[in-house]
């Protein structure tokens, strides 16, 4: 059993806000302007504890967006990836109410910029237009380009077990190298 998650490393490999993740997502998924499936947020800009965090959809284990959707188009796959069936979406925006992370996006359509259908991170498993030009269903492996391209190796993505393993290795190596002194853990 695998469970897909994202995790930004907040210790040594901290995000430098290069936005490689945002651009990689747009290049891969060809999302329209204003759709930001992943976004880097910065806290305390210019202050000693300035911090950047990449924020995609976190593919919640118990997703509030799924529970509130009035037309039940949001679903969760066995591997944990939360997706939606775009055709049935009515664009009410209730999922955005429910999501703690601001992940659901709405394309601005029409003269008044009214809500389009919901769009969000798919873990790169599929374009929402699920058929190719021969009408075949398009399926891809869950390989999020944001994480694969992340310049600072901040954004980890994959099976939770693998993420946990990676973080143990990273922090283990830090402790090992500094002879047990945790000095380099937090630099501020």
């Amino acid at each position: 059993m695998v469970t897909m998650k994202f995790l930004p490393d907040m210790y040594v490999n901290r995000c430098i806000a290069c936005k490689g993740c945002e651009a990689a997502c747009k290049t891969q998924n060809k999302t329209p302007e204003n759709i930001r499936r992943i976004r880097v947020v910065t806290f305390n800009k210019g202050e000693p504890n300035e911090t950047n965090i990449p924020m995609p959809c976190l593919h919640c284990t118990d997703p509030p967006c799924l529970h509130v959707c009035p037309v039940n188009v949001i679903y969760k796959r066995e591997d944990g990836v939360v997706l939606l069936n775009k055709e049935g979406c009515i664009g009410c925006g209730y999922c955005l109410f429910a999501c703690p992370f601001g992940a659901p996006q709405f394309e601005q359509l029409g003269a008044f910029g009214t809500k389009g259908k919901m769009d969000k991170c798919t873990f790169c498993v599929e374009p929402y237009e699920q058929r190719d030009n021969q009408g075949k269903l398009i399926k891809r492996e869950p390989k999020p380009r944001c994480s694969l391209f992340c310049a600072a190796e901040t954004l980890l993505a994959g099976d939770v077990k693998a993420i946990s393993e990676k973080m143990r290795q990273r922090q283990g190596s830090t402790i090992f190298r500094s002879g047990g002194a945790a000095k380099t853990f937090l630099t501020f």
Partner: protein, 925 residues
């Protein structure tokens, strides 16, 4: 491959994966992923998709910065549809910043120039390639007849391949003028002079991967934003306990990840470093053995350093003495330590000295020529190292041979042309040996209001892959464009100049392909040469730079001189022949002797290279270093990843400081290393310059004897040939501290004289600024820099829908104290102004931009990114672009504000330490 072992039983083959997914309904999917525990990557690279019919994954190199990141371009049935990580490229391990990760939108883009165009009678008109090239060739001929060959200026490019850069230089040699230059002049020319004058070669000594081994890193730039993927290695160092220190007037993204921030005043790098050096000497932390054995002139440095105790340095730089002492201690007690820098240090009147001071600090600490040490100059454009090596420059021929008769004879031989014919191309033999106009002053050559070093002003100019916003004093540049008889712009996009110039006639635009539309080599900052595969055929009727140069030469053979027929005669296979038959044969002074077949082979065996050392284990590439960094003496040599290591044999990538100034300094001390020192050698082992002049030697005899062809010399603390043999502080021309300018004045005007080809001044400008008390009218320090989303003048990145969405804005960063004192709030539109341009009778320089109020900058300093264009002093000039070619986002060009300062050695422009005022009201003229 080994890395996957532990989970390989979980792996699905591509075929079974496809079956699984075909069977899967929308809700169920079994992943074909594995983990790979030896790197941060949690997935294997997405090679699997190559199996899909019609899809190709092509290994290639980023087109933006000199980190040199590799990537696989996904091409489906001839269409570039996306990117996949090139996991095995040892430089970036598949990682990319936003510029790299959005390249498809930069390459395939509707705003590109779609055919050659000519502006006539105020209208843009499409023309054929043949028509455009004929018009250019005829005009050149006409200019030669009327004014002589020096009336043409050629701005070449660091964004083209090595082959194209090399041909640009050769083109101007065949034309008969040294008026050729490019971005390197205004980016790292002071690195070349500063490092070259210290230890022989003016390039990044170590490399990005090597920074993993540093235990302390002093940043003098902002690589988190300017060279993001380098952070992959910097964080590896940090994980191992390395201390990071940032010296920057801004609390940059790099500072935010550092352990110590030194908020220095712009233009005070030298006192900061000398203050640290002082504390190092006071505490006896310097490496005496290293100094005695491998350097020359310590006593001169000691005398200067004694004048800069940390307290004095603190008074000048604005950084507390405690912080300076702490930084010195950290650098000395966590060795190997390295210094990293970029434009923040190079772009000053004292740029060469700034860089010399870094080298001096590393020599004192014995950090030079060490793993994890050295001076890591991070270069900007993807191929700026290559374009510098191949001399798209006014002061040298390729490979730093200079402009002496010997240099011309050497290259004439490589080109297979008669030296006397070459002489006949020039206005006179004098002009052959005389440095040309540079990127920073060529506008003065057009305007001709100052004393010039040539009879005719410049009447025609090429901007071949060079931007306008990066040039200081934009208002003057604009006037120069308008004065030219013809301006030829060669670029994939319409460069700013085409629209900035308010000009009815005489602009020709040629659509060049991007570097993903042809094969070629590209040199990353650490001298690593990588093969950049062609991804697509040229789009939109564009042509690769190399082809345009060759075709223009053919036209010139018809209208100008039949000698042009020899221009491309050695190349039947392009670009390989250009590299292998000429560059590799002639560029001996830096040992740029990699063969293209080796570069291609490295790409194939990328997986054999180690990220920590960049060395390959096993396979046909066994023992080679990635990119065969120069000097790479012959086809068996592995390349030299770290300069000046004398602890490894020459055959293994070792060598020594270059014995470039003879065997003895003017004071009689030795310039040869105490460890096996010897002068430069002929191929047969006798002393002499034969190593760089012989066109056939493969250096086998010297290498077998562990001799370095260019000698085993000493690094120079004391560079007697420079205006300041040891760096000392000099206040910026426009200084906020008139009290210090008396003690630390700018260079006297006579140090410059007619510099390159134009009368240049410094002291009198500084005195005028102080005497007219302009520091009261323009009290804020002005500096400029990068945004991660954009590159150079931005004509490509600002046309990219992804990047312009990520960063749509030009702004000025200002401290709340300075802003609120002026009634400015975050988000207000404000005027930034300076007295630049008044020396030409122009109005004061001004820019209308958004205020970004932030504590992340020193009080009293403002910062502007320099990638912007499309707006000039509050007025948009987008209407002057040919239809549908203007960038998606526009803004004011920051460098209009820059002061009139130039480095005394290289004529680098000063774009990092000016003065300005910021106001809500439009400033009065």
């Amino acid at each position: 491959m080994g890395g996957y072992s532990r989970f390989s039983e979980l792996r699905f083959s591509r075929r079974s994966f496809l079956k699984a997914s075909a069977a899967a309904t929308a809700g169920v999917l079994l992943g074909g992923y594995v983990t790979r525990d030896s790197s941060a990557r949690l997935f294997e690279p997405v090679n699997a998709q190559e199996a899909e019919s019609g899809t190709k994954l092509i290994k290639t190199i980023c087109i933006f910065c000199a980190v040199g990141c590799g990537v696989k371009a996904r091409v489906e049935n001839g269409v570039l549809t996306g990117l996949e990580p090139w996991d095995e490229n040892p430089i970036n391990g598949g990682r990319m910043c936003c510029k790299g990760a959005s390249i498809p939108s930069s390459v395939v883009n509707d705003r590109r120039l779609k055919s050659p165009m000519i502006k006539e009678g105020g209208k843009w008109r499409k023309v054929s390639w043949d028509g455009a090239l004929t018009a250019i060739a005829k005009k050149m001929k006409d200019i030669r007849e009327k004014y002589g060959p020096d009336a043409v200026f050629f701005a070449g490019s660091a964004h083209v391949t090595n082959e194209a850069a090399y041909l640009q230089r050769k083109f101007m040699a065949f034309w008969g003028s040294n008026n050729i230059d490019h971005q390197a002049r205004i980016c790292h020319s002071t690195t070349v002079a500063g490092l070259g004058n210290t230890w022989g070669y003016g390039a990044q000594t170590n490399n990005f991967n090597d920074m993993r081994h540093a235990r302390c890193i002093l940043f003098l730039s902002n690589p988190a934003e300017a060279h993001p993927v380098s952070f992959r290695h910097i964080y590896a160092a940090k994980r191992r306990g390395a201390i990071l220190i940032t010296a920057d007037p801004r609390y940059s993204r790099t500072a935010a990840q550092s352990d110590l921030w030194l908020p220095m005043r712009s233009g005070t790098d030298i006192p900061l470093i000398l203050g640290m050096a002082n504390w190092i000497l006071t505490n006896n932390w310097h490496d005496e053995e290293f100094i005695n054995q491998r350097t020359n002139g310590f006593k001169y440095v000691k005398k200067v350093v004694e004048q800069y105790p940390p307290e004095t340095a603190a008074e000048i730089t604005g950084v507390s003495a405690e912080k300076i002492k702490e930084a010195a201690r950290l650098m000395a007690q966590n060795q190997p330590s390295t210094i990293q820098y970029a434009m923040g240090a190079t772009q000053h009147e004292v740029g060469t000295n700034n860089i010399r001071s870094f080298a001096i600090l590393q020599l004192l600490l014995g950090n030079a020529g060490q793993v994890g040490g050295g001076v890591n100059a991070f270069r900007g454009h993807d191929n700026v190292q290559g374009a510098t090596d191949l001399a798209v420059l006014a002061n040298t021929l390729p490979s730093y041979y200079g402009l002496s008769d010997g240099a011309w004879k050497h290259w004439s031989k490589v080109w297979g042309v008669d030296y006397n014919w070459m002489v006949s191309r020039f206005a006179s033999k004098d002009f052959m040996n005389k440095k040309g106009f540079t990127m920073s002053r060529w506008r003065d050559g057009v305007l001709a209001e100052l004393e010039l070093g040539q009879p005719s002003p410049i009447k025609m100019a090429f901007l071949w892959g060079h931007s306008t916003p990066s040039q200081a004093g934009m208002a003057i540049v604009k006037k120069a464009y308008e004065t030219l008889e013809m301006l030829v712009i060669v670029d994939p996009y319409v460069e700013n100049a085409a629209a900035l110039a308010d000009k009815e006639d005489g602009i020709v635009l040629l659509p060049a392909s991007t570097t993903w539309e042809s094969d070629g080599t590209v040199t990353a900052s650490p001298r690593q040469v990588q093969w950049r595969n062609k991804v697509l055929d040229p789009l939109y009727d564009s042509k690769p730079d190399v082809i345009i140069l060759l075709e223009l030469a053919e036209k010139l053979a018809e209208v100008d001189d039949p000698g042009w027929k020899d221009f491309g005669k050695n190349y039947s296979k392009i670009p390989e022949d250009i590299y292998d038959k000429e560059i590799r044969v002639g560029a001996r002074a830096i040992g740029m002797r990699q063969s293209t077949w080796r570069l291609k082979r490295q790409q194939e065996y990328d997986f054999a290279f180690d990220t920590e050392t960049l060395r390959a284990t096993g396979g046909p590439v066994h023992g080679e270093y990635w990119g065969l960094p120069w000097p790479c003496w012959n086809d068996e040599h592995p390349g030299t990843p770290i300069l000046y290591r004398n602890d490894v044999p020459v055959a293994d990538g070792g060598h020594d400081f270059r014995a470039r100034w003879g065997t003895e300094a003017p004071d009689g001390t030795s310039l040869l290393s105490a460890i096996g020192g010897h002068p430069e050698l002929n191929p047969d082992g006798t002393p002499g310059p034969g190593w760089k002049l012989d066109l056939t030697t493969e250096y086998r005899r010297l290498i077998a004897a562990n001799k370095v062809p260019y000698g085993r010399g000493r690094a120079r603390f004391w560079a007697w040939n420079l205006p300041d043999p040891v760096p000392v502080h000099r206040e910026p021309l426009w200084t906020p501290r008139p009290d210090l300018a008396g003690k630390y004045p700018a260079y006297e005007d006579k140090v410059y004289g007619v510099h390159f080809r134009v009368k240049t001044k410094a002291r009198s400008i500084q005195e005028a600024f102080i005497n007219t008390r302009l520091y009261e009218k323009y009290p804020l320090i002005w500096t400029s820099g990068r945004q991660v989303e954009h590159q150079g003048g931005g004509s490509m990145t600002r046309s990219n829908p992804i990047l312009s969405e990520l960063q749509p804005e030009m702004y000025v960063e200002i401290h709340p104290r300075d802003a609120h004192d002026r009634g400015i709030r975050d988000g207000d539109m404000v005027w930034v102004s300076s007295p630049r341009g008044t020396e030409y009778g122009l109005t004061i320089a001004k820019a209308y931009v958004k205020a970004r109020v932030t504590r992340g900058i020193r009080q009293g300093t403002v910062f502007m990114p320099f990638h912007w264009g499309g707006v000039f002093q509050g007025e948009s000039y987008v209407r002057r672009y040919p239809k549908d070619t203007a960038p998606l986002v526009v803004g004011e060009s920051a460098n209009i504000i820059a002061p009139p300062g130039w480095d005394a050695t290289t004529q680098m422009q000063t774009t990092k330490s000016g003065m300005c005022e910021v106001s809500k009201e439009r400033p009065a003229e």
